[in-house]
Symmetry: C2
């Protein structure tokens, strides 16, 4: 297991208004009204059947423009400007396996293209997976929020700190 | 982008009471009281700093024992025994990129081991990532649930239909 590795492939590409990290919304909650499209490659289109009935979907994708300088394990996340934190206690894009998850709103499915809103993802990002968002599975009210509890006002937009140099 | 591929590596391994799909809870909601441990490999332990303050965490992992017969794009999911569905409209483990996400409860962090509960994951599963669960980012009440709305009683435990032969 120690040296286990697997290969992921793009099943599509995400299109959004954001060309760089600076100014990109931090999480979908900060992206109200921001529309984008998800282009699914033709060979995967059969997998989209029945998707349109869902109001919200998870997009899993690859943070292809985040810095990947080996294994950065302590980062200063967007919502905390002072302290470095363990990367697994943050949602920072620079991580050992740079996979992002975003629960976006699904507006429409037209052929191989999904129209979505609340998009917090860079334009051109490789898409890895789509899953339906199901409140019974995914929605929890949690009380303890660790360092985020003391993080003061939560910023709404990212900056360039995790961009690949 | 069409031929984009990336490599993921195990940052640890998940331990649970489940040796096979049959009988494994379907989603963490069906796994109340089920405890497990997440062993993080020593070289990634620095990334666990500050994690213990969070009540719930996302585990991202590789469905290493799901069938991977090329690209199965239509499946009959656990919660629907009749109709094949587009795989992206399901949470089935057999998918083009077999990545699972589970919001488990974090009980304790002891060195490189996380004690967790509500575990719906097979024993020995390769761990890819850990992220804090944040209700403001991850919790949504959705109305439209597609085919799941008509799926009748939701089963609580999986069977062997997606196991690798």
């Amino acid at each position: 297991m120690k040296n286990w590795a697997g290969q992921v492939k793009a099943i599509g590409v995400i299109h959004s208004p954001f060309q760089q990290a600076t100014g990109t919304p931090i999480q979908t909650r900060a992206a109200e009204g921001v529309e984008g499209t998800v282009e699914v490659f033709p060979e995967f289109v059969a997998g989209l059947q029945d998707l349109e009935g869902f109001e919200r979907i998870w997009l899993l994708y690859w943070f292809d423009r985040a810095s990947q300088d080996g294994n950065t394990l302590r980062v200063c996340p967007y919502l905390d400007t002072e302290h470095p934190r363990g990367v697994f206690a943050t949602r920072a894009p620079a991580r050992p396996n740079p996979i992002g998850i975003s629960p976006v709103r699904l507006l429409e499915v037209v052929g191989n293209v999904l129209r979505v809103s609340e998009v917090d993802i860079l334009d051109g990002t490789p898409l890895l997976d789509i899953k339906p968002y199901v409140s019974h599975f995914d929605s929890f009210q949690v009380e303890r929020l660790g360092w985020l509890q003391d993080a003061g006002d939560w910023r709404k937009a990212a900056d360039g700190r995790f961009e690949r140099k």
